[in-house]
């Protein structure tokens, strides 16, 4: 990191961030500031603060308060003679520009950003496809319980057989006779698969040493999306399946086949698989020993950003889940130019990836067609079932039902030219997944939102995916029209692992973990800081975030103020808490003496924001300024590199930085950055507590910080900074805004000028509940445009002005007005009993065979899934049972 430039920020480019929330009215020409602005400012800043090429090009808008602007103008403007605009004049100009164009409110008035028509982002695409296919699998998405580890079934023979002794035993070959107790089996849950049996076995009483086998079954739960490398380390035979329910050893599909040993030495076999975060996948490991001297087995993995290590118990469950259809086709990255990923812009690469993904998914569907369509080879009604499946699949992809006319137009067509039923189904799926109505989640909606829109937006905002079966149920019954019902769904959904994964993505973005990608430290100065420590620190940070966000209080303030870290034995040794943690686990360890303060002093971040051999108060200060305290900084006009060798070695880092940035032009920003950065000087380049520098100079972490309002705050430690941020509306607002963007992927202002402040106020009055904030953010997006507007704040706010939503000439092209509810064979269905469309066409309530209703699995019971059933009652009773997403699978 030695080459990282010091961030030196031009004076006039710095705008602090203070939100007021007061109403901002447009000033007229009679405003006293107008004339002064015209006279002194337009030459460089333009008539409306838009900037002037060759003079000052940055547009003048930001989040400073009027008082703060006035102070700045007084001191620095105009740049050729600061004395021309001081005192009351400066205040008038500040007041004018604030109201005319500077403030967010003024900006919103001038140009309210639109909700942009967007395509699915890459995570949204991949999650949607997986969950779409999952809608047709019974038990898909059922949450796993609290138990951790894998269920091991142990056998006294290598064939995984429960054999009974029989009189024929004497006739058995020598090989069979010597087996001791080969009819024995037992089960237990193993937290981690890492066994070295030496020349014995798992149970020397029950089993022969020469022959035994174990089958470990369960699920692996992953948080991050990416490629997971699994490794089997064994002296014997083993094979592994991940995310594949087909576990017939004689068929392909094993991730690792290490069944045939080579000698008795330990060997490693590996296999990699792309997995989506926030999900569990079925995992099976089979292992046997036969007549070899020694036995050992280990199951390891290398997760994204991780190192090779035994798969930890916290990532394993003894419950088996359904497999997921994960599209592995690589996609080009999404547009991040807005500071968060958005589904804007398409390219040939994207289009080809979409097409490739559609083929991949359609191939999967074809291979599992009987299962997904709830039929079997040779069934008399297979043809009809497959057609019906295709229709339901397309409906699920479009996130709303099809009318009879659409069914003819969009479904049957695919079977007409196809050589076989399978190819017809394949084409239907390929069509569904390449249609704009799937790829652009709002493409199928009308101009007034309905329950289907709400369901879709909730799923997008909270999960980056499409609706699950519970949402489908609610939408079909047109229940998502009142804020209470919508909020109830959001509160249910926020508990799902997919919401956790999305939240984790937000924190990684907020904390700039990308920066830690290539983290490395001077191995002489920090010999203990190896890749294992780095991987542990990342885990430690994630555990901390999980603990706070998903704990009872979900309190944002704990993020910044918690005095504990999650440490394992390795980290505990390095961070001054030896013997506090038993090997192999992470535990909370408190640091009252060192003033640890949440993410502000998490060693992973302290290390990431530091040079390879020393701290970097500037990097730390910029991070704190922007992300924790919530002030905006614009990039420096020139990059000045910090070169340690240029300084007197007897200086402290603080002295060097002070020296480097002491020019007046620098100090305009560094007067903010430096005090914040200096407050962390008690933590070295790998985040350990220190009181002295390498050169024995004592650390001085005290500093004085001037707020935008001109008040002065004394910081004595990192905790003081965190305390300051926790009470700062601008910090809250920055947090709310970033979470909004990450969640909704649209500018918050597009939902109304007051959106952010309402959310912020709600956040404050909810004791800074992070999960609650996410729910309210999803509410804003989901209920936007519903006939009866819903406010984001929990307290009833003032009636919102009708949004100037961009309304293209409204046209209803879709013939979805009169959905004909069922194929001919199902005419016995009760119909048209529910409310007909009022002002706008409301799709009719669906029958139970609509998309989210998987057919019963043929292997479970050869029932007739076909019989048309009146849905209401049985549905509702079932729906109240636990594991809501799964119940529909079992209805018929």
């Amino acid at each position: 990191m030695g080459g990282l430039p010091c961030l030196c920020l031009a004076a006039a480019a710095v705008f602090g961030f203070v939100s007021t929330g007061e109403a901002v009215e447009e000033p007229g020409k009679e405003h006293p500031g107008f004339a002064i602005y015209q006279k002194l400012c337009t030459e460089c800043h333009g008539d409306n603060g838009e900037g002037v090429a060759g003079e000052y090009e940055e547009p003048l808008y930001g989040d400073r308060s009027i008082a703060s602007l006035a102070g700045r103008i007084d001191r620095t403007m105009p740049d050729y003679d600061e004395s021309l605009c001081v005192g009351e004049d400066a205040k008038q100009v500040a007041d004018y520009i604030y109201r005319a164009f500077y403030s967010p409110e003024a900006q919103a008035r001038i140009s309210l950003p639109p909700i942009q028509f967007s395509r699915l982002t890459v995570p949204q695409y991949k999650n949607s496809v997986a969950d779409l296919v999952g809608l047709f699998m019974g038990g898909y998405g059922r949450p796993v319980g609290e138990a951790r580890g894998l269920k091991g079934t142990y056998y006294g023979n290598y064939r995984f057989r429960v054999e009974k002794k029989s009189p024929d035993d004497d006739k058995k070959s020598e090989r069979d006779r010597f087996r001791k107790g080969n009819d024995q089996t037992f089960e237990r849950v193993d937290p981690v698969i890492a066994f070295d049996y030496g020349d014995g076995g798992p149970d020397n009483e029950k089993f022969s040493k020469d022959e035994f086998a174990v089958r470990w079954d369960g699920s692996v739960m992953v948080e991050e999306t990416g490629t997971y490398q699994f490794v089997i380390r064994t002296r014997n035979g083993a094979r592994l399946w991940v995310n594949n329910e087909q576990t017939d050893a004689n068929k392909p599909g094993q991730l690792i086949d290490a069944w045939v040993a080579a000698g008795n030495e330990p060997r490693e076999e590996e296999g990699s698989i792309f997995l989506l975060g926030g999900r569990a996948y079925p995992l099976r490991l089979e292992y046997f020993k036969y007549k070899e001297l020694n036995a050992s087995i280990e199951l390891l993995w290398k997760p994204p950003h991780g190192i090779l290590q035994p798969v930890p118990a916290r990532s394993l469950s003894p419950e088996r889940v359904r497999e997921s259809m994960v599209v592995s086709t690589p996609f080009p990255p999404d547009d991040r130019s807005y500071g968060y990923e958005r589904g804007l812009g398409i390219s040939k690469e994207w289009f080809e990836a979409v097409t490739g993904g559609a083929i991949e998914a359609a191939t999967y569907v074809t291979e599992h067609l009987n299962q997904l369509a709830g039929t079997k080879d040779g069934a008399a009604d297979r043809d009809k079932e497959v057609h019906d499946f295709a229709k339901r699949f397309i409906e699920a992809a479009f996130r709303r039902p099809l009318s009879e006319e659409q069914r003819k137009q969009l479904v049957d067509h695919h079977f007409e030219g196809a050589e076989s039923l399978e190819i017809g189904a394949k084409r239907a799926v390929m069509f569904a997944l390449t249609s704009p109505r799937f790829l652009y989640p709002e493409a199928a909606s009308g101009e007034v939102a309905d329950s289907y829109d709400v369901a879709n937006r909730l799923a997008m905002a909270l999960w980056d995916s499409g609706p699950d079966s519970a949402l489908w149920d609610a939408a079909r019954k047109n229940q998502l029209t009142t804020p209470d019902k919508v909020r109830a769904q959001a509160q249910r959904m926020v508990k799902d692992p997919r919401a956790r994964a999305k939240m984790q993505g937000f924190f990684h973005h907020w904390l700039e973990l990308d920066r830690a990608q290539n983290l490395s430290k001077d191995s002489k100065a920090f010999p203990a800081f190896d890749e294992m420590v780095m991987a542990d620190l990342r885990v430690s940070l994630d555990l901390f975030l999980d603990d706070v966000v998903w704990g009872e209080k979900s309190d944002y303030r704990d993020l910044l103020l918690a005095d504990y870290l999650f440490l394992n034995d390795r980290l505990a040794g390095l961070y001054g808490k030896p013997d506090k943690v038993p090997a192999g686990t992470f535990q909370k360890v408190s640091f009252t003496n060192e003033k640890r303060s949440g993410v502000v002093t998490h060693p992973f971040l302290l290390s990431a924001f530091a040079y390879h051999n020393n701290t970097s108060p500037i990097h730390r200060g910029v991070f704190l300024t922007r992300n924790i305290v919530g002030m905006t900084l614009k990039p420096p006009p020139e990059a000045v590199e910090f070169k340690d060798a240029d300084f007197d070695p007897s200086l402290t880092m603080r002295q060097k930085v002070t020296e480097l940035t002491r020019a007046k032009a620098c100090m305009a920003c560094h007067s903010v950055i430096n005090p914040l950065g200096f407050s962390l000087e008690n933590f070295d380049a790998i985040g350990r507590w220190r009181t002295k520098e390498k050169n024995d100079k004592p650390i001085d972490a005290k500093s004085t910080f001037k707020t935008d309002e001109g008040t002065t705050v004394q910081f004595a430690s990192a905790r003081d900074v965190a305390d300051f941020a926790v009470k700062s509306p601008s910090a809250h607002r920055a947090f709310v805004r970033q979470l909004f963007h990450h969640s909704v992927k649209q500018p918050a202002n597009a939902y109304g000028v007051a959106t952010l402040d309402q959310l912020r106020k709600g956040f404050e009055s909810s004791n800074y509940n992070i999960r609650g904030l996410l729910v309210e953010i999803a509410m804003v997006s989901a209920t936007h445009g519903l006939p009866e507007p819903v406010k984001p704040a929990p307290k009833p706010p003032e009636p919102k002005k009708p949004e100037p939503k961009k309304q293209p000439e409204p046209k209803k092209v879709e013939p979805q007005k009169q959905p004909v509810p069922m194929p001919a064979a199902k005419q016995s269905e009760p119909k048209k009993e529910e409310a007909k469309p009022q002002s706008k066409p409301q799709p009719e309530p669906k029958k139970p065979d609509t998309p989210p209703q998987p057919k019963p699995q043929p292997q479970t019971q050869p029932q007739k899934p076909q019989a048309p059933k009146p849905q209401p009652d049985s549905n509702q009773t079932k729906a109240t049972e636990p594991a809501p997403p799964a119940t529909v699978a079992k209805q018929n």
């Binding site: 014997n236 050893a249 080579a262 080809e352 076989s420 394949k426 704009p436 493409a443």
Partner: protein, 441 residues
């Protein structure tokens, strides 16, 4: 199901691999074919299991015109291209029963690793500890630009059971690296010619996607519509690419038409065998590989060959004593059938002109037919029934039987390597190579 016709295939070929990376799998066109076919060399190794019936296999005398016994009768039309090698042994010892070593040491000429797979006798063993000759030659061909092909080698199977152990694998990419044969012709077709069906399907849905884009567009503002317009352009481009009839792209030989009705079940083995052979010849004709293996069943395989009127499992039969005339007759029939498949392969190669050169593809090909045992009921690894068919340009002196005495088969692989231009000094266990290649030329 529609079959793939030539015109349709050429149309499909209009899609360049760069345009549709996800539809990869198109043959490398013309690159090697444009060059002269003269001097091209190929190898096919065909395997059938459970030993032969020596009495009905080996001709009585080696001198003069070979009087082919029953099993070899189907090869009569190619008698002058034929060379029988009597007295060659698989001398590899070590772990594993003789079926295992017979199979997994056959093309590797080296020991099995000690392991955990127990055979019917002897010690348990693992995979072979070395590369097999087909993979060795593949690597050799692929290492030189002038002999490089898209796949280098193709591993065909017929009725190979879905399991991986030393009895089912004869090809090894290296120690502990068994290569699985593909025994599903449709899967092989997919490997050779890409997902052509997907292309058909893609073509069929694009109209619908265009219509849908248009329908959705009308609801949007001009600004939002821009993205969909761009999208539409991309759909149109793909459509054009897919439908372009690119007459420059010429395959030497059209894609074989596979009957979709043939399922992968035992009683369809004869049809599957012919489909695989057709694909093999086709892949050679389009120069996708210079080496191919064709593995029938597996060592200890219990195939029930109903089509020959035989209901018993093959391996079970092979254990019957010589005096069991019924078994003797059935095993003869079984081996006759395998030989008939070899004859069909030979015939197809002989009928196919060598691209870019005079003569037939057979002229440029060496075929070796082998078995993991010399005789089933004694499980001998001696006197393995090696049949070599050498094309005119193979440099092999054919039309004869050569007799050896327990000569290690490693030496045969040296000769075959030399015939392919690969001047190996040793192959597999060096101990067996001391006397160098067998004099086949």
């Amino acid at each position: 199901m529609k079959t793939l016709n030539r015109r349709r295939f050429l149309r499909d070929l209009g899609v360049s691999a760069a345009v549709l990376p996800f539809l990869s799998g198109l043959p490398g066109l013309n690159s090697a074919m444009a060059a002269s076919g003269a001097g091209r060399k190929r190898l096919v190794i065909m395997f059938s299991p459970n030993g032969t019936i020596p009495d009905n296999f080996w001709p009585e005398q080696a001198e003069g015109k070979l009087n082919l016994p029953r099993i070899l009768k189907p090869l009569e039309p190619f008698q002058d291209r034929l060379m029988l090698l009597k007295g060659v042994s698989n001398r590899v010892g070590g772990d594993g029963d003789r079926h295992m070593r017979g199979m997994s040491c056959l093309l590797t000429g080296t020991e099995l690793f000690p392991g955990n797979i127990q055979g019917g006798s002897d010690t348990p063993a693992g995979w072979a500890s070395g590369i097999s000759i087909d993979q060795e030659l593949k690597n050799f061909f692929q290492s030189r630009p002038e002999t490089q092909t898209r796949f280098g080698s193709l591993e065909f199977g017929v009725a190979v059971p879905d399991r991986a152990d030393p009895w089912t694998r004869m090809c090894y990419a290296g120690p502990n690296k068994p290569v699985a044969p593909v025994d599903d012709p449709h899967q092989m077709l997919g490997k050779l010619y890409g997902k052509m069906k997907d292309k058909d399907s893609l073509v069929s849905i694009l109209d619908g996607v265009k219509d849908d884009l248009a329908r959705v567009s009308t609801k949007l503002s001009a600004e939002d519509r821009a993205m969909l317009d761009e999208h539409l352009t991309l759909v149109r481009e793909m459509e054009t690419e897919l439908q372009r009839d690119d007459s420059d792209a010429q395959l030497n030989h059209p894609v074989p038409e596979l009957d979709p009705e043939i399922e992968l079940v035992d009683h369809n083995t004869p049809q599957l065998s012919r489909m695989q052979i057709d694909l093999l010849v086709n892949s050679f004709a389009n120069d996708m590989a210079r080496v191919a293996t064709l593995q029938y069943m597996r060592s200890v395989g219990q195939a029930r060959m109903h089509w020959l009127g035989i209901e018993e499992g093959h391996h079970g039969l092979s254990h019957e004593p010589d005096k069991n005339e019924d078994a003797f007759e059935k095993l003869t029939k079984i081996n006759e059938w395998f030989c008939g498949e070899l004859a069909y392969l030979t015939k197809r190669l002989s009928e196919t002109p060598e691209p870019g050169a005079d003569g037939s593809m057979l002229d440029h090909t060496v075929i070796v037919w082998l078995n993991e045992l010399g005789k089933g009921n004694v499980h001998t690894l001696d006197n393995l029934p090696f049949v070599v068919i050498g094309g005119k340009n193979s440099g092999l002196k054919t039309g004869r039987m050569q007799e050896f005495d327990k000569t290690p088969h490693n030496r045969l692989w040296l000769s075959v390597a030399h015939a392919m231009g690969h001047n190996l000094k040793t192959f597999g266990n060096e101990e067996f190579c001391a006397e160098g290649a067998l004099p086949l030329a």
